[in-house]
Symmetry: C2
Subunit: 460 residues, 2 copies
Amino acid sequence: MFDLLIDLDPSRGRQAGLEDALRRGVTSGQLTAGARLPSTRALAKELGYARATVVAAYEQLVAEGFLVAAHGAGTSIAAVPRAPADRPRVDRPPRRYLGDFRPGEPDRSSFPRSEWMSSLRRALSASGDDLLGYGDPRGLEELRHALAAYVGRARGVVANPERIVVFGGFANALAVLAEALRGLERHMIAVEDPALPFHPELCRRAGMDIERVPVDAEGVRVDVLAQTSAAAVLVTPAHQYPLGVALAARRRTALVAWARSTDGWIIEDDYDGEFRYDRQPIGAVQGLAPERVVYGGTASKSLAAGVHLAWLVLPQALVEPVVETARWRAAVSTIEQAAFADFITRGRLDRHLRQMRAVYRRRRDAVIALLRAQAPWLTMTGIAAGLHGTVELSGPVSREAEILRVAEAHSVGMHPLSVHRHAPGPPGLVIGYSRPAGHEFTSALERLGQLVSVLPPSSG
Amino acid sequence: MFDLLIDLDPSRGRQAGLEDALRRGVTSGQLTAGARLPSTRALAKELGYARATVVAAYEQLVAEGFLVAAHGAGTSIAAVPRAPADRPRVDRPPRRYLGDFRPGEPDRSSFPRSEWMSSLRRALSASGDDLLGYGDPRGLEELRHALAAYVGRARGVVANPERIVVFGGFANALAVLAEALRGLERHMIAVEDPALPFHPELCRRAGMDIERVPVDAEGVRVDVLAQTSAAAVLVTPAHQYPLGVALAARRRTALVAWARSTDGWIIEDDYDGEFRYDRQPIGAVQGLAPERVVYGGTASKSLAAGVHLAWLVLPQALVEPVVETARWRAAVSTIEQAAFADFITRGRLDRHLRQMRAVYRRRRDAVIALLRAQAPWLTMTGIAAGLHGTVELSGPVSREAEILRVAEAHSVGMHPLSVHRHAPGPPGLVIGYSRPAGHEFTSALERLGQLVSVLPPSSG
């Protein structure tokens, strides 16, 4: 056992160092269960320590359960398992693409670091100590005020700060909302088909039953929705994910009429509503029916996914159920919330969005021009908006996997359309153009060009 | 309707300003459903705008559903509900106490603002753009490394970074963990009695059944636990909340034996394990049985509740179920996570804890001395640790409410013990001494002295 003590760490002090060494010996298996330790007197002499130091260390480890002291039988090693040596990997390290057209995230290199830093600094230096407490379960009051003004101005949302709840991302918000709806005995939720796979998955985990409602060129099929018994519907009206269509005016009206006549809830996921390139963005559906729509916004696309900030604007009837659920589920650093409030009220978010709209618009146009010139059979569906476009493929579903295999070999990342579908439908590719850093976009585009140049044209 | 247009905001531009005014008119109810709008030609002339501007504004509002365009019948107002004018209050504004002895939070004024700020700055300036993505669902790798080293060093936890998951607070962590256990068909969880009321509540919301297990002077009654069919038990071994006792050495051993023999999980809520005043802290139970214990730590007591940072160290068998659940539930700013990693690895957390241990120890001693001198019938139970002490009262439960009423009148905040209890037991007071700011503690203590001086001694 004295081998162990060679490792005594002098910076930790004699008693703590001795304890560390013994703990390590027990958990590593070097000291086996039942083995007797030397007497405190003997060990103290051996180490040149005061005996009281060794006695204190033994007592500490007895209290922690690593050692067992028996009356008159000295001190021995308790039965303690070895330290886990395995290092399981849950996620593979992220794949790097030379042409990274995977949708879902804005350009990380465009994040306004110094402006965000000054908002953090101002937030922390200007706020009183109350900022550092748990805070209101809806989120920081000043952020809810800033968001109410922002979503009103930018998205036509009728909001007051009392009805806003801040979350660590839209997934977090949807999980809480679904749980709150389940608590209200509203068990059935309709989800667009196609949609992000994690949306129905999250609702299912919260105990909801799921109906899928198809999407066509005018957006979600409200006539099909009306045939379900859904109590709520999760939609992406400004820019359907993944098909990229906008909900047509008459569908908006029909959707609101559905909610009114059934006391149903519309959950409006406005994930990229700030990005419209061909015209002024169409306002949120929420503005038409603030008492029937839950509006969800996020900073994951407008700013960065890493800030993990999202918000719901709630109808009066859902404020209390959602806040009671969020109280134990959602938690966002109050310092970060105060920084975001500062960032919005100083107009930094609007300015950043103006810049990024111009950037993403150019990128979108470049991708479309490339496809048109080199692979006219790959045509993006949907409106000029957002951070992605979708290409539907003719032919069998296997064609999708085939193209993605070639893309991987060319180090081009894209998402398959089929994983978003519940009912069978054309395969396709979901192509994001926001992810590459600004200086990498041209070479990413070249990669995409090389890829499509080797793809055989659609068989039909 | 032209009254509305008096409010045209020139900074918004003509079309946007006109749209805003019309939206406001519709949602405020000034423009009633069905009413005809003037023709675009007439309105353009009235305002002195180009007719195309008015046409574009009308079209925008038709697309959004605020206006209805009928062929040959001009444009009219759609049926849109009024804006919600109510401002519901979910939470009352926090009560301010002159003597704030409510437990649950550290001294906010002691938060090391400038050190935290420099950690934020370093995190943001030293990290590549990968920091700004969604990140690993377990949390930032560098933070998990820093935490593994920290909990090993400070709390004797056997941790490797692959088994750590970062959350926005312990409540967030517990909700995810309970949901993961339910997903594994482990439905029954045992919770200490007394305990924080939200602990069983969170488990219940996650679909778990709850058993309560009494606590005595040696901590949780493992013999009673063994009679339940619980698959997991939630405990506070280092400093029972609220009674303040430590789990005795033989109970630690018995608890681990229970977990081994039943394949049960021990959930170790180590909320204030860093604060022990009379001796070196006793290491976490997790060190005895890393494959049977879920260790939970938090920065809410060691740093500030507002940072909303907590972590679980998981047994191998629970890593995947918890990560899969956390993937959609937990979300913490990656910038903040990087800052916390910096804060730990630079030794700032240890330094802060050394300072605060000395502060809280003095405060605890002062409260105990005051009670001993002025109200010897109010005796704190438990060990010299943590940020609170509990006083059990003799007499009926009504005595507790009586004292709290007088305390409110004296502007002294404390928590009732009875709300923590499931089975009947002595009433009492939970007294925190960490909440007042440093410069306010003396006057808070005076308030407490005034309160106890007017309380009639226990009737026994």
